[in-house]
């Protein structure tokens, strides 16, 4: 299997960053939100919701995207990407859960939606789906660990319910990825016309697929560099194609939506500049670039396109949840040092866990002669 896990300088630095983040988080728990964040009655949701929750979950869309592609749409070429995608999805949801823990006014009540129901609430559905899907991902990761421990009986046991896990993962992801956008259906009057759309649910869903695909491509290329292995070239070429097509679909959806609502598209204020960067720079541009085989078949080309698309998903989530508020209130929000430190700590945690998983878990079962996948 893989080499022994060692504390290289890079890992030590990440551990320190994560430690500082945890300390900042504990400080926040004792001092309260007002003392440690720049959130206010005018901006009840800030960096933690925009990044940890919305962006984290969207970029973790790779888990269900790749597994749906393989098992439902029969794109078997992507199989080598599946396990890293699941690992990165799990890590993304960890960011969500831990980030939300610090963001909630009463984090020790994070379990309340389990027993206190309000079935008409979009956020109620999101919390249930996220809880269940994180469990599904945890089981997926656990199966990989069981393989590593050679617990044949249990591996076979879980193989038997594998369909159930795949389908549950796809349903739950479809629901909450779109519902995270539907959260904003309730407040069209507070958002810029550019993003306040009745179609925000489907738009969030498709952009989560983009986020997932681009993160899988990024992680695959970067980790092959980091661990000095050959990247999965065939799978990546095909993934690049898929990403390009999805970006095109998303662009078409965006244009249709803006046209149908008759939104003012051409103007030169902050909202519009951010919108142009988002729609042209991070959707149209990578879609166009990926059209050329020279670009999508080269490691650097795909790396840049995937990076742009992933950044576009992040920008979209920030635009929907933060910047599209800009012109509405006479208040200004910029995250406090604590908010930023906690978020960076979470990212460090995510990289550490992903890196550990890549080393510890059997990532490429088709190469290794362990209990074979179906």
């Amino acid at each position: 299997m893989s080499t022994e896990y060692r504390f290289t300088p890079g890992r030590v630095i990440l551990l320190i960053i994560m430690g500082v983040g945890i300390l900042a988080g504990i400080y926040r728990l004792f001092m309260g939100l007002g003392a440690t964040t720049n959130l206010s009655d005018a901006y009840p949701w800030g960096l933690w919701i925009s990044f940890d929750v919305l962006t984290g979950v969207a970029l973790a869309g790779g888990g269900f995207t790749i597994s749906a592609a393989i098992y439902v749409f029969n794109i078997k070429k992507w199989e080598p990407l599946l396990r890293p995608a699941k690992l990165s999805a799990f890590v993304g949801y960890l960011i969500f859960v831990v980030g939300l823990f610090f963001d909630l006014g009463q984090p020790w009540r994070i379990w309340h939606p389990l027993v206190m129901w309000n079935p008409g609430s979009v956020l109620f559905e999101v919390s249930w789906c996220v809880m269940l899907y994180t469990t599904v991902l945890a089981i997926d990761i656990f199966i990989m660990a069981l393989e590593r421990w050679r617990a044949e009986f249990w591996v076979n046991f879980f193989r038997n319910i594998y369909v159930f896990l795949i389908v549950a993962g796809i349903i739950l992801s479809t629901l909450h990825q779109s519902s995270l956008g539907a959260l904003y259906l309730l407040m069209p009057e507070k958002m810029s016309d550019l993003w306040a759309s009745g179609a925000i649910g489907p738009l969030f869903f498709v952009s989560a697929i983009i986020g997932g695909m681009s993160m899988v491509a990024l992680e695959s290329i970067l980790s092959s560099k980091a661990y000095g292995k050959e990247p999965r070239t065939e799978a990546l070429k095909s993934l690049g194609k898929g990403l390009g097509v999805t970006l095109l679909v998303y662009f078409a959806m965006k244009v249709t939506d803006l046209y149908a609502r008759g939104a003012t598209v051409w103007s030169l204020d902050w909202a519009h500049i951010l919108f142009y960067i988002e729609i042209f720079g991070t959707v149209a541009l990578p879609a166009l670039l990926l059209f050329f085989p020279e670009v999508r078949n080269s490691k650097t080309g795909l790396l840049w396109c995937a990076g742009l698309s992933a950044f576009g998903v992040l920008l979209n989530r920030f635009n929907v949840s933060l910047t599209s508020y800009g012109g509405y209130r006479d208040f200004w929000y910029f995250p406090s040092a604590i908010e930023i430190i906690v978020t960076i700590g979470l990212v460090a945690m995510a990289i550490l866990i992903f890196d550990f998983g890549m080393n510890y878990l059997p990532m490429h079962p088709e190469k290794e002669a362990t209990a074979t996948v179906r």
Binding site: M31, G34, D41, F73, L104, G105, Q106, R109, L186
Partner: protein, 267 residues
């Protein structure tokens, strides 16, 4: 059955007795205030201020100056966005009027604050164990058969407490008999699907410059509290469709692979 408050702003003299009454009944701390460009004080509604009198000085095109006083507080919507937003059901619309909040359930997610079109729910930012705070419609006083603290205190009858239907009838009558002294719309009768706090004003909230200060005039009559529920009503069908398609295609793919493998063997 359902109670409401009618604020006839033309009768208000700006004494702020309602603000004081609200503070004392809800046992909210006083605070040091300071002069600002308006007479309104404190500057914003927050976790310690459920009711705030807004002072507006309007200069007409002819140069005539008029004063307008508007008491801002929770609208107690008939179909509240906050209630539909809360994931745990900590906010409830009571049949007799109040939108009530339950401290013991709230997880502090603040989605209600995001959802409220009137930006009413406020958060106890300064506390380590924070709750949402807003006007309670004095539900505790109403339970004992008493009027809300603000309406019972109002010396000029600018704040009226009563049955919602009666108050709307009264408001319409005042508009009809006033010879154009009122803006001909009862704010809250239909706004956002209707509210239990109603306003009669001399000018529209647009003209008062308050449409972006909590009295939006672009909300329409559709209840904001239904947007989320509409979405939720589609969720089970999406789940079934996605699930059904996934299972079906999964088994078709599996079968195809098996057949392909067998044919290969037979060749």
């Amino acid at each position: 059955m359902a109670k409401a408050i009618l604020n006839d702003t033309t009768k208000c003299i700006g004494c702020r007795a309602c603000q004081v009454a609200c503070k004392s009944w809800n046992d909210l701390p006083g605070e040091k205030t300071s002069f600002s460009e308006t007479w309104s004080n404190p500057k914003y509604l927050d976790a310690d201020n459920f009711n705030r009198l807004i002072f507006r000085e309007i200069v007409s095109p002819e140069g005539k100056v008029t004063w307008h006083f508007v008491s801002r507080r929770c609208m107690h919507c008939l179909t509240p966005a906050c209630v539909s937003a809360c994931p745990v059901g900590a906010l409830k619309k009571m049949p007799d009027g109040p939108v009530a909040y339950n401290d013991d359930i709230c997880i502090g997610c603040r989605y209600c604050m995001m959802a409220c079109p009137f930006q009413i729910p406020k958060f106890e930012w300064s506390k380590a164990v924070p709750y949402i705070r807003k006007c309670t419609f004095c539900a505790d006083r109403q339970k004992n058969g008493e009027e809300p603290a603000c309406t019972v205190t109002c010396p000029t009858g600018a704040l009226l407490f009563g049955e919602r239907d009666d108050l709307i009838r009264e408001a319409r009558q005042r508009i009809a008999q006033s010879n154009g002294r009122y803006h001909p719309e009862v704010y809250g009768e239909k706004t956002g699907g209707g509210t239990s706090t109603l306003y009669l004003t001399a000018l529209s909230f647009d003209q008062l410059g308050l449409n972006h200060e909590g009295f939006r005039t672009d909300l329409g009559v559709y209840p904001q509290g239904l947007y989320g529920r509409e979405w939720m009503s589609k969720v089970p069908w999406v789940a079934l469709t996605v699930g059904g398609l996934s299972v079906g295609l999964y088994y078709i793919n599996k079968r195809r692979a098996e057949v392909a493998a067998r044919e290969k063997k037979e060749d």
